[in-house]
């Protein structure tokens, strides 16, 4: 049986006076891709931000590798081996592609060099525009850079927020291919609205609705469950 890498247990998160996450719970098994699904405003991004400590949970717990990280600072959580690809990509516009990568690198050892080679092979555009400012990249290139920055460190868990959002289909395929390959080496929590992408990469799923976890299971089961897909994801 696979070991639980991350356990989110009944977390409640408020943003200002709004109660965004209401007893959200889920588990992430080592080596799996766990997909968080749900309509806009369901609380998927807030869930990832709460895990990263960017939003603080008022109750509940986030346990990573058997350690409670709920109240820890974001930089501590990142140093424990959790990489985060935010929805807005978070590229540093005034830094070049190379500088964006170097800022993200926590170590400069052989393993990092290997991952850098992998990243540059997977996304040749990053090599091509190495000295170009991050702000001048296209949306797809920014997404590639954002994923590359999260992957460059030896992270055991990657939180990836809507990597296909606003991208051309050809770029989405490239991003999918990269996540498929990363899946072999690391555990992933993926937030994705594109059901085709989510279902082809994911092993298990959780559906969030109005800030609550309403369904979970294996991705194969969801693929065939037309009622569930229509009810919570609006897919006919």
């Amino acid at each position: 049986m696979m070991k639980t890498l991350l356990k989110v247990d009944e977390i409640n998160t408020y943003i200002d006076q709004f109660h965004i996450l209401q007893n959200v719970s889920f588990e992430v098994k080592t080596g799996e891709v766990t997909v968080l699904l749900g309509r806009n405003g369901a609380g998927k991004t807030t869930t990832l931000r709460t895990i990263m400590g960017l939003n603080s949970a008022s109750s509940g717990s986030v346990v990573y590798k058997d350690e409670d990280i709920t109240k820890q600072n974001t930089h501590h959580i990142a140093r424990k081996g959790i990489g985060y690809v935010p929805e807005d990509q978070g590229i540093f516009a005034d830094l070049t592609v190379g500088e964006n990568m170097r800022v993200a690198m926590q170590k400069e050892d052989d393993a990092t060099k290997e991952r850098m080679d992998w990243v540059l092979n997977m996304f040749p555009d990053l090599k091509k525009f190495w000295n170009k400012a991050g702000g001048q990249l296209s949306g797809g290139q920014k997404q590639m850079l954002s994923i590359a920055r999260a992957y460059i460190n030896e992270n055991d868990l990657l939180l990836i927020d809507e990597p296909s959002k606003g991208l051309a289909p050809i770029i989405v395929e490239k991003v999918m291919e990269s996540i498929q390959e990363m899946k072999e080496k690391t555990t992933i929590v993926l937030v994705e609205q594109n059901f085709y992408m989510a279902s082809s990469i994911g092993d298990s799923f959780y559906i969030l609705d109005d800030g609550m976890t309403v369904h979970s299971g294996k991705m194969n089961e969801l693929k065939d469950d037309e009622v569930l897909k229509k009810k919570y994801l609006g897919i006919a």
């Binding site: 960017l54 930089h75 005034d94 830094l95 170097r102 800022v103």
Partner: protein, 336 residues
Amino acid sequence: MRQLGKVQISTWVYLLFGCLLAVVPFVYDNLSMLFLIIQIFIFGIFAMSYDLLLGYTGIVSFGHAMFFGVGAYGVSIVLERNEPTLFFLILGILVALGAAAIISFIAGVLTLRLKSHFYAMLTLALAGLFLVAAEKMRSLTGGSDGLIFTIPDFFKDRTNMYLLALISLVVIFFSLRRLTNSPLGRVLVAIRENEQRTMSLGYKIFPYKVIISVISGVVAAFGGVLYALSIRFIDTTVFAVDVTLDALLMTIIGGVGTLIGPIIGAGLIEYAHHFLSELSDVHWIFERWIILFGIVYILVVIFFPMGIAGSIKNMYMKRKHKKEAKVQQKDNQIAS
């Protein structure tokens, strides 16, 4: 970046310009003009220290004059109470810089956890506190009458003072440029652009802010030291909000986040101050030169938000990218 050998071409250009400036006092001995250029060098240093905060870390301070004043008073008090020898001059400089480092560290630790507008307000209050303290501690600072002191004879010579200010400017400029191009500088830019993202890459951003606040405070204090030495008199106006606003103007007009921009801004503002004040005989409006500069400031913010150096850099980058795009287009055509 274009390079000649291992050194960037811009470095050679700046060095050449520095050498040309070094020759000025030997070929042009108008004392008031030399004094004006010395003031430009000094305020260039002060404005660069402000650019470190605003341009590279995104910290808006309304109390930066506090460090300038501490530097000016530090060296003035030591020289006023002792013989004007080189030993006491160096001691005075060390006291000034040490005091600025300690104060900027404490101020940074107390304030930098706050959100930007709270930080700006608190620095304004701290600078106000120093202004009041300097006025009340008459036995130490001379209060609003100020302090008159003598400096070592060597620096009484205008040419020597000019060269000291110029060398200081050049050394500080290249040191800060190296700092901003270092890994630390890249993290500072990352913090300026997106604090949360920088944290989620594993950086604890507070120590970085404190480090840059201390470096900026020490550089500003050194500007204050040179200012005091150049006029051999100091009063409480060095703590005034106007001094901080001058640095802000110099940085924004010259170009935020460029280091060379604040020097250009200092040159423009100091020269305009001098030139427009002289025109007060022609029309009274020129006495109120700050009104004219207010208009220039508004126009710059609207039409050149990146300032002079920033706009030039931007134009250069646009041309470069156009060229690259053309080459790319040609390559694509050949390939297809």
